[in-house]
Amino acid sequence: MKMNRRQTEPEKVDLTAMIDMTFQLIAFFMILINFSEVERSEDIELPLSELAKPPREAAEHEMVLNLLPDGGVIYSSNQLARGDLLKPYFERKIRDAKREGKEPADIRIVIRAHEDTPTGKVQELMAECEKASLSNFALRVKERVLGTQ
């Protein structure tokens, strides 16, 4: 029996479109991946504000302090029972900044406090920063989408 050679060859699938799409998806996720997430603690529920705007430019020297309702502080994955235990971290940060010719006031202290935290505890944390000559503060809040409570 005579066989048609064309029928025996495996069918070729054109993968170009699929590879194009997959690379586009990878590019999309790579652009959106946010490495600053490591500084955020999931235990913190930020208060809402409709005026929340992300900072236009990232500060050269920044410390993100996560403040829990009981006064505990999470800094760089280290959980500390009180704000005064941050002293060695402040000293190290100030040393790093000075090496680059910056002053302690150039270090931006970002406070991510839980919405239920007593405001006095936030101020106590700020006072600890002030003891280390850090006076540039930013209170971080979550954007309130209009129409939500």
Binding site: L15, I19, T22, F23, L25, I26, F29, M30, L32, I33, N34, E37, L46, P47, L48, S49, E50, L51, A52, K53, P54, P55, V110, A113, H114, E115, D116, T117, P118, T119, G120, K121, V122, Q123, E124, M126, A127, C129, E130, S133, S135, F137, A138, L139, R140, V141, K142, E143, V145
Partner: protein, 166 residues
């Protein structure tokens, strides 16, 4: 590069796509699994000057507007006092505070004057932080219909340590 077959005809080389597709799908799976949709976060800049000038030394126009936040039941905001004069209570206290600050900002918008509107907060120790942020939002500015923010104050300060206010 072309190869010669036994019959002597040239054929395009076949590229092995399988490892590339494998790794691409692994990358895709990694990004999909680590992707998290989070709400936008923003900052309010607060000044805590280490050395403050005594209130009496300041010119009238440079003197900050002192906003006192009093805590009530369940650590919710019970009342807002502005410069020990007007006290706002009730559900519309944030709107009234914003109105008061706006009036002061308009009064101070004299082009001949280079004075700045500074608001200093005196806050009850126990007050919930979310209530403080609502008050900070009210004095900071307001959102215009165009989506832009109209800034009302030049600077916000917290008076040193939170105290239990009576």
């Amino acid at each position: 590069m072309f190869t010669k077959s036994l019959k002597g005809t040239t054929q395009a080389p076949e590229l092995e796509m399988t490892p590339m597709i494998d790794i691409v799908f692994q990358l895709l799976a990694f990004f999909v699994m680590t992707f998290r949709i989070t709400a936008l976060e923003g900052d309010f800049n607060i000044q805590m000057p280490i050395q403050t000038q005594a209130q009496s030394e300041l010119e009238d126009l440079d003197r900050p507007v002192v906003v006192t936040l009093r805590s009530g039941a369940n650590r919710r905001l019970a009342g807002i006092k502005v410069d020990d004069q007007a006290e706002f209570v009730g559900p519309d206290m944030f709107q009234r505070l914003a109105g008061e600050i706006q009036q002061r900002a308009e009064r101070q918008r004299d082009p001949a004057s280079d004075s700045k509107l500074i608001v200093e907060f005196v806050i009850d120790y126990d007050l919930r932080y979310s209530e403080t942020i609502s008050a900070v939002t009210a004095v900071t500015g307001r959102k215009l219909p165009s989506g832009e923010t109209q800034q009302l104050v030049d600077s916000i300060k917290f008076r040193d340590q939170g105290a239990r206010l009576d």
